[in-house]
Amino acid sequence: AQSVTQLDSQVPVFEEAPVELRCNYSSSVSVYLFWYVQYPNQGLQLLLKYLSGSTLVESINGFEAEFNKSQTSFHVRKPSVHISDTAEYFCAVSKNSGGSNYKLTFGKGTLLTVNP
């Protein structure tokens, strides 16, 4: 079984400041890692994913995350946030061992609030 821990339930920052949202996972098998974002009153949108290859992955809107296998972490960072980045961010894992089920196990989420 997999589990995900997001250490911060809320992160308030000022606009143009850097931010890091933390995610640690536990799993007995190899995993795929994801960050999903949920804007107010909307569904979940994929922000970033790590499947294989380079441990540093980037999104089109300036976020990047690094997979650290030894620390079982997948923290996401952005060097300069905008008001529009205000949202709930969920880290998630799924096993990568194949089969007919790639269910996602989510963390509790981190509410990022960007203030002017």
Binding site: Y32, G43, L51, G98, N101, K103, L104, F106
Partner: protein, 115 residues
């Protein structure tokens, strides 16, 4: 751009009533999922569906729940006798496959309110 759609967006029902939540996954996707999110809590896996059968279900997915893909395009979640604690946002998701196509695309959700 293809997207997952869900209807209705909001469903209000009385305790004990049956509800059916509907989803239309992306057309070439093969894996289907239902998740739920109780207000203020994390997103929880309910069930996965592949090749016309359930591949895994969580402890939440008891005998009151069922899923169906009746016509090759819709994917439904039925709750036979709703309880107050079933009040939540229900998300449908689909993915093309495994490996590099594992990304799950989520619908906008159905907010279920049980009175």
């Amino acid at each position: 751009e293809p997207e997952v759609t869900q209807t209705p967006s909001h469903q209000v029902t009385q305790m004990g009533q049956e509800v059916i939540l509907r989803c239309v996954p992306i057309s070439n996707h093969l894996y289907f999922y239902w998740y739920r999110q109780i207000l203020g809590q994390k997103v929880e896996f309910l069930v996965s569906f592949y090749n016309n059968e359930i591949s895994e279900k969580s402890e939440i997915f008891d005998d009151q729940f069922s899923v169906e893909r009746p016509d090759g395009s819709n994917f439904t979640l039925k709750i036979r006798s709703t309880k107050l604690e079933d009040s939540a946002m229900y998300f449908c998701a689909s993915s093309e496959g495994g490996g590099g196509t594992i990304e799950q695309f989520f619908g906008p959700g159905t907010r279920l309110t049980v009175l």
